[in-house]
């Protein structure tokens, strides 16, 4: 059985097909889809709405806390509801489990880079969550237009979208790198939960980063989580301009490049340690 040497071909078709299968997998179980994909990221902004309401109520009517009024914060939380859905979540990647259980073994004998399948997972996640985010935004805009966040311009929308997508890619790479530590450690899941919490906090999922103490803000504004979550919302609100978007994109691109190098190194070294358990 002789196989004619297959011509070199980019993995675009594999990526498209793998993405399609990932999408099919997500919608195969309806309840799981509704709970995991649709309702994800809805609870925290609603809880924070009540927390901020209590804070501003106690501070007196028309209070401005570190540059933020209560109506502006409500708009921020509306933006958070939509933006956070799109930013890649650590639960969407199960690489560490695959390494622990030896399920990654099958890919190692295939003429492909496992990373293509992970990118398919990212693509599926992004497409699905973008769709859900658009629907969420439309429902919010229809139900509570006076409190809802409307982009100040198409330019702001494009800038915010670019920041969110590149920021989401950084999150994906960060979680990939942490997952790859499963070649060495058996506490990866704890690290992932910690990382998710840090990204959420540093990204402004609890409160706008610019509302945090100035010293902390000056540190966090150099991190990618801020530019992935908090900054895009402020861009949509018109609080940040084009120059900020460019700066944010530069920080995100540098972070992505650094994480990509780390990913390659860890993967290569990890494979040298891999024992292929369970086979």
């Amino acid at each position: 059985m002789m196989t004619a040497p297959a011509p070199a071909r980019p993995f675009g078709r594999l990526l498209v097909r793998a993405t399609a299968y990932e999408l099919r997998k997500q919608v195969a179980f309806r309840v799981g889809f509704l709970v995991r994909e649709v309702s994800h990221g809805i609870v925290e902004p609603l809880v924070m709405l009540w927390v901020f309401w209590a804070l501003y109520d106690s501070a007196g009517e028309g209070a401005v806390l570190r540059g933020w009024t209560f109506p502006a914060l409500v708009q921020y939380l509306a933006g958070l509801l939509v933006v956070r859905k799109v930013v890649f979540h650590n639960r969407a990647l199960d690489l560490s489990t695959q390494i622990f259980e030896g399920r990654v073994t099958k890919y190692l004998v295939m003429p492909m880079d496992y990373f293509v399948l992970a990118v398919a997972r990212f693509t599926q996640y992004t497409l699905l969550q973008l769709g859900i985010a658009v629907v969420t935004w439309c429902i919010g805009a229809a139900l509570a237009p006076e409190h809802w966040l409307f982009p100040v311009s198409w330019g702001a929308l494009c800038g915010a979208l670019a920041l969110v997508l590149l920021g989401s890619w950084c999150c994906f790479l960060l979680y990939y790198v942490l997952n790859a530590l499963a070649f060495w450690l058996d506490v990866v899941w704890s690290l992932l939960v910690m990382a998710w919490f840090v990204v959420s906090f540093a990204g402004g999922a609890v409160m706008p980063v610019s509302q945090m103490p100035p010293a902390l803000f000056r540190v966090l504004e150099w991190g990618f989580p801020y530019w992935a979550i908090s900054a895009p919302i402020e861009v949509l609100m018109g609080r940040l301009g084009a120059a900020d978007v460019v700066r944010g994109l530069a920080i995100l691109a540098a972070t992505a490049a650094g994480l990509e190098v780390l990913r390659r190194v860890l993967w290569r070294r990890g494979l040298a340690r891999y024992a292929g358990v369970g086979m």
Binding site: P5, A6, Y21, A28, T105, K106, V109, G276, G278, M279
Partner: protein
Amino acid sequence: MSGPQEVVLAAAGVHKRFRTFERRKGLAGILGNFVKRDWKDIVALGGVDLEVRRGERVGLIGANGAGKTTLVKVLTGIVPATEGEARLFGRDSFALRDAEKRRLALVMGQKSQLWWDLPPLDSFKLLKEVYHIPAAAFDARVKEYSEMLDVEGKLGIQLRQLSLGQRMKMELIGAFLHAPELVFLDEPTIGLDLVSRETIREFLVRLGREEGVTIVLTSHDMEDIEETCERLVILDRGRVLFDGELLELARRVSTRRSIEVQVDPHEPIDEELLRALIAAHEGEVLQRSAHTLRLRVGARALPELVRGLFDVLAVRDLAVERQPLELLIKDLYRGGAVPEAARPERLPTVPARGPELSDV
């Protein structure tokens, strides 16, 4: 393109060691382990030499922990060798390029190659993209193989909803879809019923013979090996204990017989006469109790010995059967009966051990 006798797989002095630490007992031990660990090396492979040529069907057997699966992992490049050299299609196994990987397939009986949440046909389509299989060849192979394995009606059902046997058949289709030249199968029939096992063996033999696929099969089931392979490699504690033709082993088996005699336990036995009779026919006592005697003897001595047994014992029942291959393999583990030609020169004498047959 490669020649008919091309060496597709070669291992030279392959060692594989895993590092682990001694777990001490008790609470103090647990705390001690936390502070300081006494690391030790576990030798999984202790210098394996092996060559497999194109078109060969090789059975790899050994007791649990003998190193079969580790050897497969090293040969397929899943894990690197600690020492020595493993080469696949002439290239270092741990540095295979996509071109070599396209010529290779691995089926793991205990791990699914296909995507659990997808129907097999969807997984096959994904493999079509991975291996760049032309559409016409893909359609033809899916049809042919699913018919051969009798699963053509199950291709659209989610993999997780299929039975173990059906899943394994789908795994085989997936593995052979890209027309690999070399296929590793690690326990492909584990847990399957007789009919499924038979179907899978027929599938492997047919593809091996008709398509010239080189097959390396590890199994605990000797029937798998006997029906599928021509060559047998026995591993014991990380070393090759036997490497030779299965026919040669079978010939040795065919010259030996097992005799089981049921005797009246109330009748006295002249032990001295019995011992002399057995010794005169170069027999070997395998089991002895008040009412049962099991012997092993050469086929030529059988008629005379049986006559003698009837004279010496109050025989109630007597059964003769060919010595099963498993018994000979058990001998090999004990260090006896290894044909000189098949015994690797570097192999030291293996001390007696005697694993249970079920381990083989």
